[in-house]
Amino acid sequence: MSSILIVEQILNGLQFGVMLFLMAAGLTLIFGVMGLINLAHGSLYMVGAFAAAAVAGATGSFFLGLVAALASAALAGAIIEIVVIRRLYDAPHLDQVLATFALILIFSEGTRWFFGSFPLFLNIPQALSGPVTLPGGIEYPLYRLSLIVIGVAIAGGLWLFIERTRIGIQIRAGENDREMIAVLGVDISKLYTLVFALGAALAGLAGALVGAIQSVQVGMGEPVLILAFVVIVIGGIGSIRGAFIGALLVGLTDTLGGVFLPEFLGLFMEPGAAQKSGSAIASMGIYILMGLVLIWRPTGLFGARA
């Protein structure tokens, strides 16, 4: 196994992790501020991808597609917050799980109703297509490289937003003491709608960005949703920093496990069998990782201590 391949796989893991972060950031923010488990977050990812595909298809501009993804996911987020989610803040987790499960059903079948059963087309923009050569002679797709850059930039921007802006301060205050910031005259319901829409927009953006290299289809959000949950549980629910670290961990574990585990088993077994059992264990890898983290720290790496 050459070092070039290893570096390339690490880049792949990072790219996967960074995209997971966009999903997980919204989830963890929504949980941290409003105490809400949102299973329908994957549906917002799907909404973003479909909006991007529809608009990019109609206008021919990938950039407009991205704008549409952000706008439509944020709008969808705001609408479900106002219509449904708002009534669930003080409800037990069970109700939240159930109501957002119901939202998944409605979104998935609704999208199919609207867009039909076939996958939609969304391609990467011409300017970003094809591979580039990195130092060390590594050929790597430019678009994936851009995804890493965009993801890290958004992570940084989010950090600045939370730490340095007025709204960010209100959001952090909201995590600590809901009643208090209401007393201080912050319009709490507006703040919540805003946070929810922000989380939704990030998910929609992730859907559009990833949709360009994958397939835009109904149900695309659910596998990602579960991974994003694994990420925030590992990182500690409510912690943006934890989500970032957790996303990278999951991305790297999944990518590198899938590649190196079969190779590793191949040292002891015949190749075909090593391939099969290796990829079987690798597919459980991130769940094993999550189990280990929770046994070690029951509230995740950066979670508030219970």
Partner: protein, 376 residues
Amino acid sequence: MKKLLLAASAASLLATSAFAEVKVGMITTLSGGGAGLGLDVRDGFLLAIEQSGRDDIEVVIEDDQRKPDIAVQLSDKMIQSERVDVMTGIIWSNLAMAVVPAAVNQNVFYLSPNAGPSALAGKGCHQNYFNVAWQNDNLHEAAGAYANDAGHKKSFILAPNYPAGTDALTGYKRFFDGDLAGEIYTQLGQTDYAAELAQIRASDADSVFFFLPGGMGISFLKQYADSGIDLPVVGPAFSFDQGILQAVGDAALGVVNTSQWNKDIDNPTNKAFVDSFKAEYGRLPSLYASQGFDTANLLLSALEKADPSDANAFREALRAAEFDSTRGDFAFGPNHHPVQTIYAREVIKEGDVFTNKIIGTALEAHSDAYAAECKM
């Protein structure tokens, strides 16, 4: 279109229709991720029934949601409650394995418009089971044969880690004479193939074979095109079908895939089928639509000769397969699976629409590897 659907749904509601003499139960996937395939099979099937002008055939259609337990439940319903004579429609091998053995043992005929698991072609074959599409390995075997013709010597092959994936790689290897540069089982439902692409790039392969149905194939092809790897790609028709080609786009152009059908196969039945399908539904027919259409025509041809209540005569009539297939010559082998020609197709662009063009023949009068095991 509307009229047809209405007739179908009305049929599924009115369990007892006075004039219906033959009752057909169609269990297929009409909702959720794989609905596109089921819709095509259904539309193709209903088109043929409608064109036949027979009003004594009642088609009861149910959606299996691609869930095996639902499919089994619907099959019970078809047999116990609707008392159908013939069943058809299942898209997925795992659903077929759940439904077919029990159904055919209850004296119902089953005509498979898509799935052809090896268990049903070999030891588990049954006199009431007819496959009108292919045995699962067929298109992969053809891909291996085509790779030989194209002069490929070293292939990198990959498929999802599930039984149909294993069958695909086995089928390819059965006919491919060259060496393997690598063999990878990906996760089922995987959407990101960056890691696999890196391995392909690092290998010394001269060609790539993949079997990744549905969304997996779309993702793979888009990422493959963007990776800068320029090895020739071969695959079975499933990832290059009319329904999903538009979602793959330019990334699929030039890729060779194997199929027993294409819209440019030159025979009157096929021409008429393509034109009438376009007229009826406003889209190009897919492989699955052609299989649904052929399945219905096989059924109609047998009904001309015998009534399902006379099981032996009806079975003989089916086995004769005297109908005009959209793919030209069609016959059943001893295990009731097709003996047919499989073509190599290339993805092209016609105007704004991506579609396939036949570029050659991969295997002629091809049967399958399991027929010998079948004791019928």
